[in-house]
C-alpha cells in the first residue's frame, strides 16, 4: 500500500523542485553518491587507525551524526511551502513521498505502522545500494551485506535529524536482508 498525502496539491512548488533535481541529470546524482562514498571511507579509515576503538563492530556514529545535521537542516528547505502537519503520521507520510523523492528520486515503496510510534519504511531499490546488487541477479545479493551498514548509517541519521526538527525524537534503525531492499525502522520516543 502506498501512502498518499491528502494535501499534496498545495505543494506545487515543492514538487517542481523535486522534478527539476531529477531532470538535472547524471552529474548531479553521482556527485552526491561519490561524495557520500568518500565521507564513508574517511570515517571508516579514521576509526580503523584510531587504536582506542578496537571493537568487532564498526563505529558508524560519526556518519550517523553527519546525517543528523544534514537532515535537521534539509527539512527546513523541503517543508517551506507546506502547511503545518496534522499529526505524526502526516509527517511520516511526507517523509515517504516528497521528502524521499527529492533526496533519492523515488518514493518509499511500503509504509507500515503499529499506530504506537513504530514505523517501518521500506525502499525496494535504495539508491545507495542499487549499484551493489539487484533483485534479478541470482544468489549474489549477499556479496556486500557485511559492508552495507556503512552506506546506510548516513541515511538513518538523515531521517532522525529531519524528524527531530519536525518535533519527533526518535531512534532510527535499518535492516537489510536482500540488497538493494532496505527497511528503516523509526521508533518514536515518547517522553
Amino acid at each position: 500500500m502506498k501512502p498518499q498525502v491528502a494535501d499534496s496539491k498545495i505543494n506545487s512548488s515543492g514538487t517542481s523542485v523535486s522534478s527539476t533535481t531529477s531532470t538535472l541529470g547524471e552529474a548531479n546524482e553521482c556527485l552526491f553518491e561519490f561524495l557520500h562514498a568518500e565521507i564513508m571511507n574517511y570515517v571508516i579509515e579514521k576509526n580503523a587507525s584510531d587504536s582506542n576503538v578496537k571493537n568487532t563492530e564498526e563505529n558508524l556514529s560519526e556518519l550517523e551524526w553527519m546525517g543528523f545535521g544534514v537532515g535537521y537542516r534539509i527539512i527546513e528547505r523541503l517543508t517551506r511551502e507546506w502547511v503545518r502537519f496534522k499529526d505524526e503520521l502526516d509527517m511520516i507520510k511526507f517523509i515517504c513521498t516528497d521528502y524521499w523523492s527529492s533526496l533519492y528520486h523515488k518514493q518509499i515503496d511500503n509504509l507500515k505502522t503499529n499506530h504506537h510510534g513504530t514505523y517501518v519504511l521500506q525502499d525496494n531499490e535504495f539508491r545507495l545500494l542499487k549499484h551493489l546488487a539487484n533483485h534479478n541477479s541470482n544468489n549474489n545479493n549477499k556479496q556486500y551485506l557485511r559492508e552495507c551498514p556503512r552506506l546506510i548509517a548516513f541515511t538513518c541519521g538523515l531521517l532522525r535529524g529531519s524528524l527531530a526538527n519536525l518535533g519527533i525524537s526518535s531512534i532510527v534503525k535499518a535492516e537489510i536482508t536482500l540488497i538493494p531492499t532496505c527497511k528503516f525502522h523509526v521508533e518514536v520516543q515518547r517522553v
Binding site: H36, L132, N134, S137, N138, N140, Q143
Partner: protein
C-alpha cells in the same frame, strides 16, 4: 556471428576482468601470462599505429582482423582498455564496447564504493551484467561450433 572473449585492462596494464564465451582455442599458458602478452601486444600496436599513420591519427587503433577472428579495441580517455574478440562478420562491436563501458562499468564498478579501481573486479553484479549484455547483443549467437 559470435563473441569469443573479453579483456578489460586498467591504464597500468592490470587485468581487471576476463571472461570467455565461445573460445575454442586455449593459449596453453596461465591467464596472467596471457593477459601480459595481450597487453604488450596492444601497447605495441597502439604506438605503431600512431607512428606509422600518414595522417594525424584521431582515434588511433580501433580493430584488427585475421582470417578467423576480429579483435576490437576501445580505449577510454581515462586509459581503460576494453578488448573484445569476435568472429570476422560481426558489426557494430564498437557500439557494444561503448555500452559495456557506459552502462555496465560505470554503473556497477565506478558507482560501487566497495569496488577498488585498478584492481581486479570482484562485484558479482558487474559479472552478471556483463554476461547479460553480451548474451542479449545480436553479435552473440551461441552456435554449436
Amino acid at each position: 556471428m559470435t563473441i569469443h572473449n573479453l579483456y578489460i585492462f586498467s591504464k597500468n596494464g592490470v587485468l581487471l576482468y576476463y571472461n570467455e564465451w565461445n573460445r575454442l582455442n586455449k593459449s596453453g599458458i596461465t591467464k596472467e601470462e596471457e593477459a601480459k602478452l595481450m597487453y604488450g601486444m596492444l601497447f605495441s600496436i597502439k604506438s605503431f599505429v600512431n607512428k606509422i599513420s600518414p595522417l594525424d591519427p584521431k582515434e588511433g587503433f580501433l580493430y584488427y582482423k585475421t582470417s578467423k577472428y576480429s579483435l576490437h579495441y576501445l580505449e577510454t580517455p581515462s586509459g581503460l582498455n576494453f578488448v573484445l574478440n569476435t568472429d570476422t562478420a560481426s558489426q557494430n562491436v564498437r557500439e557494444l564496447l561503448q555500452q559495456l563501458y557506459r552502462q555496465v562499468y560505470v554503473e556497477y564498478v565506478v558507482k560501487n564504493p566497495f569496488c577498488k579501481l585498478n584492481e581486479p573486479i570482484q562485484s558479482e553484479l558487474f559479472k552478471s551484467k556483463v554476461d547479460e549484455l553480451m548474451k542479449k547483443s545480436p553479435i552473440y549467437l551461441n552456435r554449436s561450433l
